[in-house]
Amino acid sequence: MTEPMGQTLSEKILSHHAGRSVAAGELVVVNVDGSMASDTTAPLTIKAFEEMGGKQVHDPSRTCLVIDHAAPAPNERIGNLHELMRQFARDQGTVLYDVGAGICHQLMVDNVHVRPGELFIGADSHTCSYGALGAFATGVGSTDLAAVWRTGKTWLKVPQTIRVEVDGTLRPGVQAKDLTLFLVGELGISGATYQAIEFCGSGVEQLDLGGRFTLANMAIEMGAKVGLVHPEGLSLPYEFTPLRPDDDARYVRHLSYDVDDLAPQLSAPGSPDDVHGLERYAGTPITYAFIGSCVNGRLEDLHTAARVLRDAHIAPGVRLVIAPASRDIFLRALGDGTVAELTRAGATFLPSGCGPCVGTHAGVPGDGETVISTANRNFTGRMGNPRAHVFLGAPSSVAAAALTGRITDPTPFLED
């Protein structure tokens, strides 16, 4: 009789949901705890669900539809797709978040539609964000999600896992986004394809929930199926059982980094993994700065921007557009004066939602413009114009660029 092998976090969670012990490389059919679709993916999901003979969604109370990608609707075509979602949610009794409630991923975590150790499937690639909680959460397309609605299950290949250990302490003014972009640059856009990542180490333990969310969110920009953050240091507003890998779990790669000396990072236009120290681009003129998206539209991100822009005004010729990640975040930023401060500094607020990140409506850049954004993707055409150039950076770096009109090291603004 052989000893059972130690398991990674993915193996543990998938074993639990498969009803038997599974190991990396196996194909499994697993029970799904919760699911989500946005207005980009839900209409095709509804169509596929009906075409595959679906009558009743498997678990309506754990099925969420979120209108966030093009909200409010910019034209009648999208308005009708939103109506299709509302009608379906009413008929099926699913959860619906309508225009302005916020970005799907922020809502899933803040409103506890997903918990540590659960298996969650979302028809959006950044569903991996919930790895911040220690949930096995991954993105699929519309038809795969329709199958979850129909059967309550999905099939997966149990992934091998890369263990990424981050030690040290980020310097003042260097943010979780800088660490995240650094790791995207190190692993590359396909570095973890078909694989899971586990993030651990003292540098990760110090991150708050928002920082962990940022890190797990961009696991997909490292190509990963999931990015699971170890639970040490995790604080949630409800009780949970921390899930840890076994000491003798088997990893396909071990990577370790020390971040004591990490400087602010930027992803250069074209691909999120073209990451360099911000210094390389210092002085580059920008005309458009965006703060928001599922990776960096949180209250602390608005607070960072307000610190950089305190008692100042953005540079002439620059637009600063901000889309808070949820209505709740917007309300809190209204209540503590942050919205007023940023608006006085020249910022324009958009409704809570994906905003300009997906290039569908508000805030499409013009030809030849250079943009700096807190979002997670800068593929050609991502923001709606293939002739614009989009840098990705931390909220601090975006605010500093808005202030000066040029790419600027934000750390001096955040040192006090």
Partner: protein
């Protein structure tokens, strides 16, 4: 579904993301023809003019990375692309392609120039470049994906079967 496909190749490089396959601004629709009208628009504006039904997309590493939008394989399929062949696919695109019935093959050592004529035997996973006279073997896809592809996609598969087949632990399958 035809199991032997013939067509000419349109060759692209590594890391072709789904934003370049179909930009996000066109994805909010159920009109598949409108997706096809803009397929690969930012990557290769001439593609729509050049391509003929049955043509094939051949790419390098990590084809279809980025957004989970199923509109990407739907746009390719509706435009008339018969098969996508890559060194390997980004995970979500690979699933989506098979789920919508667009054949997708992973071939590690493919040689191709745009305009080369190909014959692809889906059942055997054999890819022949008839212009260059080379033959390549595709990697075997997971059985569940093969079953879905043979059904014509996941909608047809679940209409027929109702749910997924049970999976067996490694070592117990023949």
């Amino acid at each position: 579904m035809d199991t032997v496909l013939c067509g000419s190749a349109h060759v692209y490089g590594d890391d072709i993301d789904t934003d370049r396959i179909i930009p996000g601004k066109y994805t909010k629709t159920l009109d598949l023809q409108s997706l096809a009208d803009h397929v690969l628009e930012d990557l290769d504006p001439e593609f729509r003019l050049r391509m003929r039904p049955g043509d094939m997309i051949i790419a390098g590493d990590n084809f279809g990375c980025g957004s989970s939008r199923e509109q990407a394989p739907l746009a390719l399929k509706t435009a008339g692309v018969s098969v996508v062949i890559a060194r390997y696919f980004a995970r979500i695109f690979y699933r989506n392609a098979i789920n919508v019935g667009l054949p997708a093959l992973e071939v590690p050592d493919l040689r191709a120039e745009t305009g080369d004529e190909f014959t692809v035997d889906l059942a055997q996973g054999v890819v022949r470049n008839t212009t260059q006279g080379t033959e390549h073997q595709a990697d075997r896809m997971p059985e569940v994906m093969m079953a879905i592809l043979h059904s014509g996609g996941l909608v047809a598969y679940l209409r027929a079967h109702g749910t997924y087949p049970p999976t067996e632990p490694i070592g117990t399958t023949p």
